[in-house]
């Protein structure tokens, strides 16, 4: 360590969604904030959406998997023993750079899984408790949508009206109305009108490789400019390798490595981990010492355990008419919660959330793993003709229950300053049954909408969009890593603000819940600080 200590009041590790929300809230309240981000800042011009190589880039340097992307800022994840492969992004904005911005709230039942279904655990907080922060998150991210969904409790109007559902969305909405199945116009953190300095969506459907227009709410646009204007300091290419605690076991800073490979120690009143459910667990486990041989915050032994990855698949319907389905927002045009709640007769507990999205260009069509068919030879022409612009796809996001065997552990260090995170994850029988049931229903949905044929896969392991759990929240220090405010049970002044604190995972996209929880934790920190305690 060659540099003298640096001082700050709140040290945030990770500049993704939860870190950006936290930094903005604290800095605006006058807290001296420093954020350490291992990745770089990106410019919207870097994104490939409006360039001809968009689709090629999405399979390589802009892939959602850090292992496939292999960028300078990415760290290897050993996923050989994981039946779902995680997707995430390292850099200012974190995974919001690549996410689809499906902006969904948990259902009330998601907080009460043990009470209602006799499995997993209840959260220590309820939907009603979190609702005010959901409302604030909607405002900050400029969510577009339509209030009144019968699948949810009443809520205020969205800041922006919903985006158009497109030709395909109209067909599926009509089909679900005939079937008596739930559907609702998609809610997205994508601007349907100019909002807070952002442009409106241009329906290019390339959200998954970064939004050139700035219409999608990625926190490099929505939060970091505000946080930095309020005085927050954001250091990029700064990889944290250890969280530090003082003699009284209070968090008091971190050690990080800069782009030149020089180690620094930074001192802080409080430390807030916002490095995602893999990165945060990895850091806590790697901060082991003689005093804490199992890592920090790990008295319960649960750090890294209860990893959830939302088993996922798609069902594609093919139509004999043009639907322009390579355009739109990606983003969801519709969603359905018809099969999201437990129904005992189905033979499994919990459920799946469905989202209807555009279906991509010719390369997506050509590379789809068509079951039982070769992809090359004359088949490639058949596949593209059938798919391109004439297909609709339901994405099926299934709730996986938290199991201690599904976990992140530390592997060997592979040229990094930290041990490689090793994932061990099995898709449970309950989730397999859920996948099969929902895939069959999704095929029925598309057929009712007029599809002449459908194709689906039992599981698409490469789409581990949602990395959840590993540092669960709970009131009992023996059964949880953090308390109901996200503070470590073991270490005062150490907070977790990201999706690692999830007790259960719901079936919905987690971004809105991560934002709401981070805002809630920020308010708690500010409340205790106002009373003279930094945390």
């Amino acid at each position: 360590m060659t540099q003298p200590p640096k001082e700050t009041e709140a040290l945030i590790i990770g500049a993704g969604l939860s870190g950006a929300v936290m930094a903005t809230a604290l800095a605006r309240a006058g807290v001296k904030v420093t954020c350490l981000e291992q990745g770089a800042r990106w410019n919207a011009e870097d994104y490939r959406g409006r360039h001809e190589d968009w689709e090629l880039a999405s399979f390589g340097p802009w892939h959602g998997s850090p292992n496939i992307r292999g960028g300078d800022d990415d760290y290897l994840i050993d996923e050989a023993d994981s039946e779902m492969k995680p997707m995430l992004f390292n850099g200012v904005g974190g995974s919001t750079i690549l996410y689809g911005a499906h902006w969904m709230r948990f259902l009330p039942s998601d907080f009460r899984v043990r009470s209602l279904d006799g499995v997993a655990d209840d959260w220590p907080i309820s939907y009603a408790e979190l609702a005010p922060w959901y409302d604030e998150a909607d405002r900050q991210f400029g969510a577009s949508g339509l209030a009144g969904d019968p699948a949810y409790p009443d809520r205020p109007d969205y800041p922006l009206p919903p985006l158009p559902v497109g030709k395909g969305g109209q067909k599926v909405a009509a089909a679900h109305s005939r079937l008596g199945w739930h559907w609702w116009p998609g809610t997205n953190a994508i601007a349907s009108r100019p909002y807070d300095g952002r442009r409106q969506c241009v329906q290019r459907s390339t959200c998954g490789t970064g939004c050139n227009e700035g219409a999608k709410a990625s926190v490099d646009l929505t939060h970091w400019p505000k946080a930095e204007a309020a005085g927050a300091r954001l250091l990029t290419k700064a990889r944290v390798i250890e969280i530090c605690v003082d003699a009284a076991d209070r968090a008091n800073g971190a050690v990080f490595v800069d782009s030149a490979g020089i180690r620094h120690r930074i001192i802080s009143d409080i430390v807030i981990l916002a490095a995602n459910a893999i990165g945060s667990a990895r850091l806590l486990l790697a901060s082991r010492s003689g005093r804490h041989p199992a890592g920090l915050a790990n008295r319960s032994g649960l750090v890294g355990k209860r990893l959830m990855l939302h088993p996922f698949t798609r069902v594609v319907g093919f139509f004999d008419e043009p639907l322009d389905s390579w355009q739109g927002h990606w983003g969801q045009s519709l969603y359905s919660m018809q099969f999201a709640e437990t129904e005992a007769s189905r033979g499994f507990v919990r459920g799946a959330k469905w989202n209807l999205t555009p279906t991509g260009g010719p390369l997506t069509a050509a590379t789809f793993p068509w079951p039982g068919e070769r992809n090359w030879g004359t088949a490639i022409h058949d596949h593209v003709r059938k798919w391109l612009g004439r297909s609709l796809v339901w994405g099926l996001s299934c709730e996986d229950l938290p199991e201690e065997e599904n976990r992140v552990v530390l592997g060997e260090s592979r040229g990094d300053d930290l041990p490689t995170p090793e994932l061990h994850y099995r898709v449970a029988d309950n989730a397999h049954a859920m996948l099969a049931f929902n895939a069959a229903r999704a095929a029925e949905s598309l057929e009712e909408a007029g599809a002449v044929s459908t194709v689906g896969l039992p599981l698409m392991p490469e789409f581990g969009w949602h990395v959840l759990g590993t540092c669960r929240m709970g009131d009992d220090p023996d059964e949880a890593v953090v308390d109901r405010w996200g503070q470590s049970h073991d270490h005062r002044r150490l907070f977790l603000a990201d999706s690692s604190v999830f007790v259960t995972g719901s079936s919905v996209n987690p971004a809105a819940t991560v934002a709401a929880l981070s805002l809630r934790t920020a308010d708690h920190i500010l409340g205790t600080r106002a009373m003279g305690d930094p945390a």
Partner: protein
């Protein structure tokens, strides 16, 4: 271009034609100059794929191209995946191919100002009974 380059380009075109052959409606990979597209476009966009293709082409084999591709798919799926991505990726960048499949690329569009397209279907749903499960709390 050296003689070796010519041989490799010719071999690549033959292999690419197995992956994307000519049909009544569509040109083959070599019809649209796949080797040239690989050099002009993929070298810039996906140098990783160009390097992978180079390694595949340098494999010593006397097999006919179709047999080679078939064997590669079975014995080295990762290499096949890279080859397939390179060939298909370059092919669908071709303006002629895009014209034939009716794909102009991803385009910026204006959002409609006359609604979202399902207003009539939403009538009645907005006042429908709530379906979420209640947990006995203050919702």
């Amino acid at each position: 271009m050296t003689k070796t380059d010519h041989v490799l380009a010719s071999r690549f075109a033959a292999i690419a034609d197995c992956i994307i052959p000519k049909t009544a409606e569509m040109p083959s990979a070599s019809d649209i100059g796949i080797s040239d597209l690989l050099q002009r476009k993929l070298t810039r966009y996906r140098p990783d794929l160009v390097a992978a293709v180079g390694a595949i082409l340098r494999q010593r084999t006397t097999q006919p191209p179709a047999d080679f591709v078939e064997r590669l798919e079975i014995e080295d799926p990762q290499a096949f995946h890279q080859l397939f991505q390179a060939v298909a990726g370059a092919y669908y960048l071709s303006p002629e191919v895009r014209m034939r499949i009716g794909y102009p690329g991803q385009e910026a569009q204006m959002l409609p100002r006359d609604g979202i397209g399902v207003e009539d279907l939403l009538e009645g749903l907005l006042d429908a009974p709530k379906t979420f499960r209640r947990s006995g709390e203050d919702i």
